[in-house]
Symmetry: C2
Subunit: 303 residues, 2 copies
């Protein structure tokens, strides 16, 4: 098993959806990613929290054998996001973003992190993504996410990161924005032209599109969930399942590996959305995953 | 092979999309349906056109061995729809609807249509759908489509039709509107509670969800098309491929048949959207279908 380095946000989220609301629930891309990936592999987190970060939230990652020695506590408050989902819950409306300690985040890797072979650069500023990647000695497989904010404000930096990674995991709308494509199919090919050998376009309730230079499209629907409670973190959960599975194979991933990784990611994401924040995901076991994986395969089996 | 009776609109459409525009191009649910279904089975059309309906448009259906003796020509003009698609082309903006001869349409079946065993009630007024169905002596398998206009204006009539059909093919947004569900997954189960033993929810570029009482979900993505020219008629093409395939089997469809029918429908729809109106569909051959079917299966094959 290879070890995965992840850099991303550690946050408290206040979320309202048609199913209810929560205030200051544990969130952030690095938390969702780590909880998902740790079902398969050892994870090392780089991130920053404020003095209000609760002991139980450190303990949650520790209980999953996540290495949190790269998490630093700074004077001030933890990153806080407030958002709302309406109607079909396909898109969050951001009500408030309080960066707090995240504003001056300067990722420095503990020495023992530097030999990480799998690296995931979650959705943070592209210059910080580069900064992290430069500290890793010989990464074997690197992935990244990004968002509309960086596409519009730091496109040059973003393109630099894109040229250095193996795979991009990105929302469909953001992939269209990044490439100027009219749909996710066109966007996926255009992302790959920017450097990475594979892209996974996350389509929310519609599943995903993977496009690889080597074999073209791999497209599947999401696992059908009738009652969605909170979609927050679904994409980061997908990335965590995807990377966690790949790292567990302990080899340079081939296309078949990437396909299975997508399936693991989409199934794990289907757990996340069934409760607020990390609540459902933190209880999900490999046994739960296996059961749902079998159900999932029936959903599109037809011969 | 069983014969399929279809009732629906025969129209001229003026359509604008980011790819260009056409004026008074042949359209209407019954035309798309018939062109698709006639690749597999014999089709009988019931509908009405105006005096402006062109000979070549009658000839197009005749060239596919479609029985058009149930198409009547009335004094006045053919139904005309004007619409526009913007951006991601997921939804048409209706600019003009001129019902013309369609306004007083009173479907009367030619005597030799009455023994039809497969019946498709395309998107027309629910009371007309009932009227057609009542004239068929012993239908073996009946399907229907509907739209937001009938859901909001004729819900009681619509529920009556729903209780009489085997399968509903419907857009995701309209299925949500009909059932009050928050997503297509929840909607599909609720449609089946209204009577039919199966529902196929059409998700446009994201493919479809079928839900059957007997076996639950069958979900697949659409065939990936990078350049969409005009999505008009994709849903009716899907229905035509679906019904055409089922009728060709000449038996009461089982769930495996319905699954394969969905695949045929989604592939045929992928041709329709590659050109304006019926242009691409009317040139599509069973050989084209077969080739794309093989490519399609590779898109989601992973073991």
């Amino acid at each position: 098993m290879s070890e995965i380095l992840v850099v991303g946000s550690l946050a408290y989220d206040s979320i309202q959806t048609p199913a209810g609301k929560v205030s200051r629930a544990l969130g952030g891309s690095a938390n969702y990613f780590s909880l998902a990936a740790s079902l398969f592999s050892k994870v090392r987190v780089v991130g920053v929290v404020g003095e209000d970060y609760e002991q139980k939230d450190f303990d949650l990652l520790r209980s999953r054998e996540v290495d949190i020695s790269g998490m630093t506590t700074q004077k001030g408050k933890t990153f806080h996001w407030e958002g709302e989902y309406k109607g079909d819950m396909n898109e969050a409306i951001t009500l408030k973003t309080e960066l707090n300690v995240f504003e001056t985040f300067n990722p420095v890797l503990p020495t023992h992190y530097k030999d990480s072979s799998f690296v995931f650069l979650a959705n943070i500023s592209p210059d910080l993504q580069v900064k992290v990647l430069e500290q890793v000695q010989a990464p074997k497989f690197v992935g990244m996410d990004t968002m509309n904010f960086w596409i519009s404000s730091k496109l040059a930096d973003l393109k630099k990161v894109l040229s250095k990674v193996d795979v991009v995991l990105i929302n469909e709308g953001e992939a269209m924005m990044l490439t100027g494509a009219a749909n996710g199919i066109e966007a996926s090919r255009k992302v790959v032209e920017m450097g990475p050998s594979a892209v996974v376009i996350k389509r929310g309730e519609y599943g995903f599109v993977m496009y690889t230079k080597a074999e073209g499209f791999f497209i599947l629907p999401a696992y059908p969930i009738e009652k969605v409670t909170d979609p927050t973190g679904a994409g980061d959960t997908f990335a965590g399942g995807f990377f966690g599975y790949l790292a567990s194979l302990n080899r340079k991933p081939n296309v078949a590996d990437l396909k299975e990784a997508c399936v693991k990611g989409t199934i794990l994401a289907s757990f996340t959305i069934q409760d607020f924040g990390v609540k459902a995901l933190s209880k999900t076991t490999t046994k739960d995953l296996e059961i749902r994986l079998n159900e999932y395969k029936k959903v599109f089996a037809h011969y």
